[in-house]
Symmetry: C2
Subunit: 341 residues, 2 copies
């Protein structure tokens, strides 16, 4: 039976290249993937044929035949959150000019959605997976453990990596800023938090540890919501906090958006910063040092985490798993005008 008319739309296949170059199809395949294993003469011929025909390998066929797709799955909880946007940028930049592709998934901070996406991703047999955080559901964890490819957990570190891990301690970060505010002389330090995902929870725990050590803990100082974070939400939460505890003299915000909202509200209500109210954020977005007054924050190496996560994944894919499986990037307290009492 004659071959059916090309379903693929007539793009040249590896067989076309092989014919043109006068070699076997498998040699073309090898020349493309492991050039060292083909003699220079044939390699040159093949390269010429590839260019003449405008041949581009079919990724789907390749993935099917080799049971491995040149895809790295990346799961993040949010795409609009600046922090993850930068992680993703780092990931793309870390790719260099490999043939690898990124498959992004947005879990919307949902464990169930993470499980679903993991299923979808695994159905492509990815070369590696990068997931955010260390709080996977048991099902998700099991999927990861049986994935049969390198796994990198990012943004946070913990005692029990699935495979590899890179991030820092949110608890320590929260504790460090809070201590800084205590040292600056603030006595009624509130905590304002949005979203309250696991990492925010641990920042809160760090805050709590610091104020408890100083004998300044009071539940009414804590104002949180599960709504997504935004600048306007920062303003609202600050109003609530002030209504609950009128003697409030400082706030540590879960993240920089909220801190900015607090600053604007202080400006509007003529509460001077840092004299009357101290403000600290988390992540240290660019705007924090530009704000007037500039805002204290905790610098987190988001872009670097993305880059390194890919570097680790690539190393593991090419066979040499880094000996150091858990990397603590640390963080950096940036003390600024907003807490300089």
């Amino acid at each position: 039976m004659k071959p059916r008319s090309r379903r693929g739309g007539g793009r040249p296949t590896i067989a076309d290249v092989a014919r043109k170059a006068g070699v076997g199809a498998i040699t073309v395949s090898r020349a493309l993937r492991e050039p060292d294993r083909v003699s220079p003469e044939l390699r040159a011929q093949i390269t010429k044929a590839v260019e003449a025909l405008g041949y581009v390998p079919d990724r789907n066929a390749r993935a099917l035949a080799s049971a491995r797709a040149d895809v790295i799955g990346v799961l993040v909880p949010s795409l609009t959150n600046n922090v993850f946007a930068e992680v993703v940028r780092g990931i793309y930049d870390g790719l260099g000019d490999t043939h690898l592709q990124i498959q992004l998934g947005n879990t919307h901070y949902s464990g169930l959605e993470e499980e679903r996406l993991l299923q979808v991703f695994l159905s492509q047999k990815p070369s590696a997976l990068i997931v955010s955080g260390i709080d996977q559901t048991p099902t998700a964890r099991a999927l990861l453990e049986s994935a049969g490819c390198p796994i990198v957990q990012i943004m946070e570190i913990g005692p029990d990596p699935v495979d590899m891990m890179i991030g820092f301690s949110h608890f320590d970060g929260g504790k460090a800023v809070t201590r800084h505010m205590i040292d600056a002389g603030y006595r009624k330090i509130g905590f304002i938090g949005a979203r309250m995902d696991p990492r925010s929870q641990r920042r809160l725990a760090g805050y709590r540890a610091a104020v408890e050590e100083a004998g300044m803990f009071d539940v009414r100082l804590i104002t949180t919501t599960t709504s997504p974070s935004s600048v306007s939400l920062g303003r609202e939460l600050f109003r609530d906090a002030l209504a609950k505890v009128p003697t409030l003299d400082a706030v540590f915000c879960n993240n920089d958006d909220l801190a900015l909202g607090v600053l604007f509200e202080c400006n509007r209500a003529a509460l001077s910063v840092p004299a009357k109210i101290g403000i600290a954020g988390f992540n240290d977005l660019d705007m924090m040092h530009v704000a007037f007054p500039s805002i204290t924050s905790v610098r987190t190496p988001r872009y670097e985490i993305g880059r390194q996560a890919i570097a680790m994944a690539r190393a593991a894919i090419s066979g040499d798993h880094p000996k150091q499986r858990v990397i603590d990037t640390g963080f950096e307290l940036q003390a600024r005008e907003s807490t300089a009492r």
Copy 2:
């Protein structure tokens, strides 16, 4: 010869499901893709078998056999730019619970990189492509035209769509804010722009048209850079602008980040806003209405554009191309305190 041991890692295949359900493989395939064409009894049996085995179809095999991947390629110039982050969020949300997947590509505002990514994407035979803007290189345009799948150009509209288009006129947006500032009584209105991609260029052209009509044009009022936008850059450009034209009494910023930087600098330099300096941004991020004073901006329907782009793509994939190929979403001027002289 006996079948080689499973390369794929032992996941069940469609043949396993077929055996378990006591039907042909092709019937399983149909039950999964076009349930209506299989009798209810068999469908139930098959569903049971699928669940019992935990069968998940292999996307690569499916794509190879049908010469079509369930993938929509999306090309955006930046992932950290808030605006595109929201477009992407809209795109993901517009997916609903289809089996479609998104393949994101970041062109870094480069036409060459766009061409390269287009090649990569096309090698997967995507179901549709979404690209940003209307300024593709001739090569990219040719690739799109011969892609053989629906194409949606987003964020901007123009006279000559490759296929479909959704966005708004950046020229009109720039002209509208500028006119608003003129009407508010400002006389030395500067333009501050970062990145200066084609859309920024057209906002600048809108600005220019408005000031020229009012007889207020002066090249020295324009301060731009090709560096990527940021809050701190807004501050720097504003300083430069003020140094060039000390009588400057207002600035229209290319985008909201810059506007925020300008506001902070005015605060720091004790230039009262809006009395001494008027400020307007573009895009209307959440923080604009929270800022103190709140900042005038142009609201752009980024999230909606993402959603609708997917809706258009899905319609076209299922065969009914929308009759209206170009959708102008418009924009909305948000006049606020920062220009209320």
